[in-house]
């Protein structure tokens, strides 16, 4: 039984689930390290998935689809950035409104383009690199050879470096932790906060593109709460890229286990709860302390 569950296929499934979580979660890290709370991740993923589907459908090019997915995520994040950073409106409500907007606009355009309120036509998947060594397991080989899997691993490691070891990362953290001090030494709070939110748009848009290619189509509401799980992973990972990715892997593992156990007559709903309950426990301080960046969620008002 154990060996049946923890097979190569199980590993592949865990990775499949973890990739979009990680990308969106890293997006959350960039945004919140810069001081902007990003509940809009959910909507960004959805719009990214939709744009990736439409881009691929009309050109037949998966690469163009990925670019469309990123662009869709970026534009959605731009709304959040303008409302949160320029207008200085409430970031949480802005995020909720954007998520609502994404659900509405994707279904609206879906009905116009594909004449269906539930799903788009089929699109091809991403081309994969031939690995050679596990060709007897074509599904697994296709997954591990997927360029986005490789890219995600690179992004996770690079992000840890960027945020903690580069000038850009230092400045981003400065505007999120103590914007007054950052402003005093000449760092543009507005600019760096835009960077943070827009990077989250790129990454969560990419997460959306992954979902679309993985499923070979767009279905209505296909982000299915992944933006919130990514947010949860970001907190459990204590706003660190590696920590967030590790939390995503844990959540992906749990979800994969849940899928495996579905037929076994066990109540899977309790496994489903794991990410959410874990987040509540971590936030309550039972496992170390989870402290958000100092100015997270607070608009910066320049002293007159």
């Amino acid at each position: 039984m154990i060996s049946q569950i923890f097979s190569l296929a199980f590993l592949a499934q865990t990775i499949r689930i973890t990739v979009p979580y990680s990308l969106a979660s890293l997006g959350g890290v960039y945004s919140e390290r810069g001081g902007v709370v990003n509940i809009a991740l959910e909507g960004i993923i959805l719009n990214g998935a939709f744009c990736a589907t439409v881009g691929t459908y009309y050109t037949g090019s998966a690469l163009f689809g990925v670019i469309c997915g990123i662009a869709g995520g970026l534009l959605t994040a731009l709304i959040h950035a303008v409302v949160s950073i320029h207008i200085k409106a409430d970031q949480i409500i802005s995020g909720i409104a954007i998520n609502l907007f994404a659900v509405g606009i994707t279904k609206f355009v879906l009905e116009i383009l594909f004449h269906s309120s539930s799903n788009s036509d089929r699109i091809p998947g991403l081309p994969h690199i031939h690995l050679g060594f596990i060709e007897n397991q074509p599904d697994v080989a296709r997954l591990l050879g997927n360029p986005l899997v490789l890219l995600t691993i690179i992004i996770v490691i690079a992000s840890q470096f960027i945020i903690f070891k580069t000038r850009f990362g230092l400045r981003l953290r400065a505007v999120g932790e103590n914007p007054e001090a950052a402003d005093t030494v000449g760092i543009s709070v507005t600019l760096y906060r835009y960077y943070g939110v827009l990077i989250s748009g790129v990454l969560a848009g990419l997460a959306g593109a992954w979902l679309a290619f993985d499923q070979h189509s767009f279905t209505d509401g296909m982000s299915a709460g992944r933006g919130y799980i990514a947010l949860a992973a970001m907190i459990v990972g204590k706003w660190n890229p590696l920590g967030a990715a590790a939390a995503c892997l844990l959540f992906g593992f749990a979800e994969s286990l849940q899928i495996q156990l579905q037929g076994a007559g066990l109540p899977t709903q309790f496994i489903q709860m794991i990410p959410y309950v874990a987040t509540i426990i971590v936030l309550a301080g039972f496992i170390g302390k989870a402290v958000a960046p100092g100015a997270d969620g607070v608009p910066y008002e320049k002293e007159k």
Binding site: V37, I39, I79, V83, I87, K88, A89, D90, I92, I93, S94, I96, A97, I98, L100, F101, V103, G104, I105, K107, F108, E111, I112, S117, G225, Y228, L231, A232, I235, P267, Q269, F270, Q272, M273, P275, Y276, V277, T279, I280, L283, A284, G285, A292
Partner: protein, 361 residues
């Protein structure tokens, strides 16, 4: 000049003006979407209004959609006044409605004058517990209620899904067995023939009573005063001898209890059982309703009416324009309200400054 305020500066004027402007603007943006589909915005909007407000059946549908929005909006508004952001109304109303159905299943034979209050109380307990948890965690550990309420929404969804599919299940459905018939609230169409066919029921009166309660509680009682002080300035409250943590827990619990009353509409007044997925984001819409209603109980009723009209209106115009137009409208209203609160005041200050200068010249 000094001391006298321009009428535009008055908070009451702004509280009315900003939501109305936001609604008008969002309809204008919505018109662009309608034009893209190749329809006439004026025609679509006139059908939207006439089919919802112009017939008693439409009004009945509108009021049915309005009822849960009032509960959710009040829940969010009350917590807002205490400085808390309750994004958990969705989970609280799921738990409340489920507990209502659960108690109703086991209390056959109880006379109506006991059963109805019992089920109402059950809903309040279910929602109240789900509001108490993030309140308690915030008060005791400082864990942010926004994240915890989001997480608890998902936990609630999984929990009720478990009970509905594995424990209390009518085979081949995703709903529970029915509640005792004495726990039912009558539909309006049993009294007023004009509403025939529409599901609006007497739970809307409970919603109006809840609004009255929230107004009285916040504006007329000592508890409400404490709640407002905590919301405006927790440090000052603590200095003044008001317990911040007690008020946080209390506000979240009451907020949760009010959200839990949503079950009166669906379980007691409409289907007479709990069904998985019965609420399509009512709790989140409650945030928009509270915002548009300026966190005032009577404002919440008006905002819930507007959103209720849009929700039913989407179905009415669906043959001309995808019904998701109304989700887009609702989202734009929210963004405009939070933005115009800031922008409008900025423009106003500039406008008044210029005006004073020109008068002085």
């Amino acid at each position: 000049m000094d001391g006298k305020k321009h009428w535009l500066e008055h908070p009451a004027t702004q509280n009315f003006l900003i939501p109305i402007l936001a609604v008008i603007l969002s309809f204008a943006v919505g018109a662009i979407f309608i034009l893209i589909v190749g329809q006439n915005p004026l025609e679509v909007y006139s059908i939207l209004f006439s089919q919802t407000l112009g017939t008693s059946y439409g009004v009945g549908q509108l009021l049915f959609k309005t009822t849960p929005l009032i509960f959710a909006g009040l829940s969010v508004a009350l917590c807002f006044r205490a400085g808390l952001f309750n994004i958990g109304a969705e989970g609280q109303l799921q738990m409340g409605a489920f507990v209502t159905a659960l108690v109703g299943m086991y209390t056959f034979g109880v006379p109506a004058f006991l059963e109805v209050p019992l089920l109402i109380l059950a809903g309040m307990v279910g929602g109240g517990v789900w509001g108490f948890i993030p309140g308690y965690l915030k008060a005791k550990t400082g864990a942010h209620e926004v994240i915890n309420t989001i997480m608890l929404n998902f936990v609630a969804a999984a929990l009720v899904s478990y009970f509905v599919t594995n424990v209390y299940n009518v085979p081949a459905t995703v709903h529970t067995p029915p509640i005792a018939p004495t726990g039912r609230l009558s539909r309006f169409d049993t009294v007023f023939a004009g509403f025939a066919g529409s599901p609006v029921n007497f739970s809307i009166l409970i919603a109006l009573l809840a609004a009255l309660f929230v107004w009285y509680y916040i504006d007329r009682t000592r508890y409400g005063y404490e709640l407002r002080v905590v919301g405006l300035n927790p440090k000052a409250a603590e200095y003044g001898g008001i317990s911040v943590s007690k008020n946080i827990i209390l506000s979240m619990t009451i907020g949760g209890a009010i959200a839990g009353l949503v079950g009166t509409n669906f379980v007691m007044g409409y289907k007479y059982y709990f069904e998985e997925g019965f609420s399509t984001g009512t709790g989140f819409m409650g945030i928009a309703v509270a915002l548009l209603g300026n966190n005032n109980p009577f404002g919440v009723i008006l905002a819930a009416l507007l959103f209720g009209m849009l929700e039913y209106g989407g179905l009415v115009i669906n043959t001309m324009v995808p019904k998701e137009l109304v989700s887009i409208l609702q989202a734009i209203v929210i963004i405009f309200v939070i933005s115009s609160n800031k922008i409008f005041r900025r423009i106003l200050v500039n406008f008044l400054k210029k005006r004073t200068l020109s008068i002085n010249d």
